[in-house]
């Protein structure tokens, strides 16, 4: 029976891991990455069939400068430490990143007070910030910015990062260095034994001496499994629309002035050249409800229009939503607990992505202080070689590559210009794609303007061939999401051959 999730087990089945990390979002991934340089047996457990399937793939993709939160918060502490780390880590792990800078835009004189507050907070947090009121300068820097802009808080250290690719690469780096991933493995209970924890999932029991809870929207439920109750999570939905590449020229991330609840509806370029508008901020009882709504979409279009008038809506290609995991403590919940060797890394809402690298490193330090031996791993691989990417390859080089590997000459995704070679590599890499969403996340087919209209038949065949499963068993994101129900005319169910 085909399982979309896979156990990558370089270890024997009865291993007791040094550390088990529950959650393979950016937080869990960063912790695994930070631990990967040490000679440890680490396991990462996630309920979904792939990594980065929760909030980590459904957010704004922003590296915050760190001027927003109070200086005595973990949010500010980790954001400010992590921010300068992104250049090197993204370069090492080949994650798209652009330190383009952030604008917070006041569109009324009455909003200027907010900018002053942020200037003060930013300065206190030691983040470079300035206020620009000169209209010419504002619009030279950002030509499409609304003419209503009265002033702008400019933070040059803000940037955009592909959050799901960062999540993926952090996990890949960990996998390259021996980390075991248990996917399609929701944690149902955790028993505390004398020297270890026994973490039960439907197919496996994972034993580990130390446990880090990075379970995002369910991090409160996970800590309750060991008898703790130090925080409660509520889910707050943020919806987005994506515009096609080249729809407007946008040089910076644009924020409106913030409200008490949220940073507001943003208009931002992405590292791939699309434009993102969103998110709104609505409480949801169901922590797995990531559907977009009519009202939500209208709300974000209105919010976007405020910053960039007359957004070209005919260039919209998709909408999506993610849920913020908000802890009722008002801050990240990070650190040791009253249960020995059990650590929390929960309540990671904004600026979670911007803080993840620092959280990872600090959790590793805390684990060390709690007795985990932190001996350097010999032959640690910290740099991921740049994978082949057709659209970034100069033509002469591309010609030579095709002569060696004809699959590089088969363009499968026309909108994003993606070849069969890079799709096959995305399946065969450590933590490779096993689903259509997995391919989408790793190499972009189905992200473009046709949203899979052209490439889907080819992707189904490639996944079938590489995973050696019949074409009709290929799924969108897990075993409950097949694309097809079978064949017509009594045709045989087959693995694709070519």
């Amino acid at each position: 029976m085909f399982t979309a999730g896979v156990d990558l087990e370089p270890m024997s089945k009865n291993t007791t891991f040094d550390v088990a990390i529950i959650g393979a979002g950016v937080t869990g991934a960063s912790i695994a990455w930070a631990l990967a340089k040490y000679d440890l047996k680490v396991a990462v457990i996630d309920k979904e069939a792939d990594v980065a399937m929760g909030t980590s793939k459904a957010n704004s993709g922003i590296l915050h400068a760190g001027f927003a939160a109070a200086s005595n918060t973990l949010k500010t502490k980790y954001n400010v430490i992590a921010n300068p780390m992104f250049d090197k880590v993204c370069a090492d792990l080949k994650v798209p990143f652009n330190r383009c800078g952030t604008f917070v835009v006041a569109v009324r004189d009455t909003e200027m007070g907010y900018l002053n507050d942020l200037l003060r907070q930013g300065t206190e947090n030691k983040v470079p910030v300035e206020i620009i009121t000169d209209s010419k300068r504002m619009h030279d820097m950002e030509p499409e910015l609304t003419k209503d802009a009265k002033g702008v808080l400019y933070a040059p250290t803000g940037g955009i990062v592909s959050s799901y690719e960062l999540n993926l690469r952090l996990c890949e780096c960990a996998a390259m260095n021996g980390t075991t991933f248990f996917l399609d493995a929701p944690v149902t209970s955790i028993s505390i034994k004398k020297e270890h924890f026994a973490i039960k999932t439907p197919r496996k029991e994972v034993k580990a001496r130390y446990v880090v809870n990075a379970a995002g929207l369910f991090s409160d439920k996970v800590e309750q499994m060991v008898g703790l109750h130090t925080f409660n999570i509520t889910a707050w939905k943020g919806e987005y629309i994506i515009l096609d590449k080249g729809s407007i020229t946008l040089n910076h991330i644009l924020f409106p002035t913030p409200t008490k609840q949220s940073k507001g509806i943003v208009v931002t370029p992405t590292t791939h050249g699309n434009i993102l508008v969103g998110p709104n901020n609505i409480f949801y009882e169901d922590r797995e409800d990531v559907a977009t709504t009519t009202e939500g979409i209208w709300e974000i279009i209105e919010g976007g229009d405020k910053l960039i008038p007359n957004l070209p809506l005919r260039k919209v290609i998709h909408n999506y939503a993610g849920l913020r995991a908000k802890a009722d403590t008002g801050d990240f919940v990070i650190g040791p607990t009253s249960v020995e060797r059990f650590f929390n890394a929960g309540g990671i809402q904004s600026p979670g992505l911007s803080s993840c690298l620092a959280i990872g490193i600090d959790i590793a330090r805390m684990l060390g202080e709690a007795g985990l031996p932190l001996k350097s791993r010999s032959e640690y691989l910290g740099v991921i070689p740049k994978p082949f990417c057709l659209r970034e390859t100069p033509l002469e080089e591309l010609d030579a590559i095709i002569k060696q590997d004809p699959r590089a000459g088969h363009v499968v995704c026309r909108c994003e210009t993606v070849s069969e070679k890079e799709i096959v590599e995305a399946i065969q890499r450590p933590l490779g794609a096993r689903t259509l969403d997995g391919i989408k996340m790793r190499v972009r087919p189905q992200m473009g303007r046709c949203q899979g209209g052209f490439c889907t038949p080819k992707l189904l065949k490639i996944l079938s061939r590489e995973l050696k499963i019949p074409v009709e068993k290929v799924t969108l994101k897990n075993n409950n999401s097949p694309l097809l129900f079978g064949r017509t005319k009594g045709l045989k169910s087959e693995v694709w051959q070519e």
């Binding site: 064949r487 017509t488 005319k489 009594g490 045709l491």
Partner: protein
């Protein structure tokens, strides 16, 4: 003999889409009302008397560059036999190569209509 019920037939000959009422007279001829032209009247009568449709489907083809071959009937067949026709044709497989126009099923269901290939399909190269 009970009087046949009149029927309202939507004419499809041109986008006017006249709604034509057709009723069978006791003498076997038809009364039509509402047709905008002669073609429409004739169509409505035919549709009332014996509605006919083209059969359009695919057939399994073995050894070809594609797994299914698009086929059609050479003429329209009675509308109420279409599902049966599709079932019959779906149960047959043919072998590549095939040329457009080849008769694959002669005299389908004894209706005086053939099923032909809509395109060429070459055999798969080994």
């Amino acid at each position: 003999m009970t009087e046949a019920k009149p029927a309202e037939i939507r004419c499809i000959i041109c986008p006017n889409g006249c709604l034509v009422t057709v009723k069978e007279r006791p003498d076997g001829k038809y009364d039509t009302e509402g047709a905008g032209c002669k073609r429409g009247m004739e169509y409505a009568e035919q549709e009332y008397r014996e509605p006919k449709r083209m059969l359009i489907t695919t057939m399994r083809i073995e050894g070809g560059i594609l797994p299914v071959l698009p086929v059609r009937s050479t003429k329209e067949l009675p509308k109420d036999r279409i599902f049966e026709a599709v079932k019959f044709v779906s149960a047959i497989a043919i072998k590549a190569p095939v040329k457009m126009g080849t008769v694959l099923v002669p005299n389908l269901l004894n209706l005086g209509v053939d099923v032909i290939a809509s395109r060429d399909i070459e055999g798969k190269k080994k």
